[in-house]
């Protein structure tokens, strides 16, 4: 065990943890942020995606030690008022069915929208191929990402 302080959603979380422990457990059990989900535990499904210094890492295989000194952002911290274009579009399209995978889906989509503000269907497939949805909401996810891109463009134009 070691004393580690994680910066999650711009807030400091001092904790005692095994540096080898998955970041997911630190987020859920030590910081108490339950929005990030455990899916497969082997980096195959994407339910546990959080941002680590802006990259969409899988927190189930990312060690706590890797996150020390970096900025962790979870679904709770993606925006202050659930107003990230991906969150708004997800609500507008009513994307989720069971919803379990969607915090991971939205966190991956947010990175795509930052790096490719006007993604094609192919860009969406390439970026989202690692996020599995057992309910099969893929077509709505794609539609929502296109809508989020439009919303983002309008915000940028206004700003």
């Amino acid at each position: 065990m070691a004393k580690i302080t994680l910066n999650i959603n711009k807030k400091e979380y001092p904790m005692e943890a095994d540096p080898q422990m998955p970041l997911l457990w630190a987020i859920r059990d030590l910081a108490g942020l339950k929005g990030t989900k455990y899916g497969c535990g082997v980096a195959q499904c994407g339910a546990c995606v959080v941002h680590l210094d802006g990259e969409a890492v899988r927190s189930c295989v990312t060690k706590v030690s890797r996150a020390a000194g970096k900025q962790v952002v979870t679904i709770e911290g993606l925006s202050e008022t659930n107003s990230h274009p991906a969150q708004l579009a997800w609500q507008e399209i009513d994307v989720p069915q069971c919803g379990y995978c969607h915090s991971g889906q939205i966190m991956s989509a947010a990175v795509l929208l930052r790096e490719k503000p006007d993604p094609t269907d192919q860009d969406i497939d390439d970026a989202m191929a690692g996020n599995i949805c057992r309910c099969g909401t893929y077509l709505r996810i794609r539609k929502a990402i296109h809508l989020a891109a439009d919303m983002q463009k309008k915000t940028t134009t206004k700003g």
Binding site: Q44, A56, V57, S108, L112, D123, A127, A129, G130
Partner: protein, 213 residues
């Protein structure tokens, strides 16, 4: 037999003349070649190359079977998706190479592949530099014959502009070494890293001959 002294003098003059003409010709030849635009520039290598096509081709047999093993070939695919497993199937989730070989947007290699192997069966292997060759230098192994692979490895336009020295150094590259530390449940390359490196250097230093096929 006695020689005529005047003949000896003539011989001395002609020798001097011949030497003078030779020096002139040499200077002219050097000067002319320096101004030829298409003059081939030979690279000077400090490595001693003892050309031996038989030994070279024999050494490449070990190099080839190593590079075509899953631990090496899986990250040198013919397409833009890495391969996985001992059967070299397409990587689950079909992550794309990207420009730098490090993946794209939400699907970057280091999102799953950590700096070290993640413990456990079927867990992502790790390395700080985990990546495919970049899009500008794909260095494809998959599907290549021994002849094609040898030619490609020596082609500076396809090997990242590596000369013999850099190619030899590449045997100790961190990701090359990672092939011999593949993580739980993955088979090792067919020879040890030391055996591979010995064959690699032998192949290069005996002329890097490509097998006929």
């Amino acid at each position: 037999m006695k020689q005529d002294p005047s003949n000896r003098a003539n011989q001395f003059v002609s020798l001097k003349a011949a030497l003078f003409v030779s020096i002139l010709l040499f200077i002219f030849a050097v000067g002319a070649s320096a101004f030829r635009k298409d003059a081939p520039v030979k690279e000077v290598s400090l490595n001693i190359i003892n050309r031996d096509s038989t030994e070279s081709v024999k050494a490449f047999e070990t190099v080839y079977k190593t590079l075509m093993s899953p631990r090496c070939m899986n990250c040198h695919p013919a397409g833009n998706v890495p391969l996985q497993g001992d059967d070299s199937h397409l990587h689950a989730m079909a992550p794309k190479r990207g420009v730098e070989g490090k993946g794209v947007s939400a699907m970057k290699c280091s999102n799953c592949h950590q700096e070290t192997n993640t413990p456990g069966l079927h867990m992502p292997p790790g390395n700080p530099e985990w990546h495919l060759p970049p899009a500008t230098m794909k260095m494809v192994f998959e599907g290549k014959s021994a002849h094609e692979l040898a030619e490609q490895l020596m082609d500076k336009k396809k090997n990242g502009n590596k000369d013999i020295k850099k190619l030899i150094e590449h045997a100790d590259d961190g990701l090359v070494l990672a092939g011999w530390n593949p993580g739980e449940g993955r088979t090792l390359p067919p020879v040890t890293h030391a055996e591979f490196k010995k064959a690699w250097i032998t192949w290069l230093q005996t002329g890097a001959y490509a097998p006929k096929k």
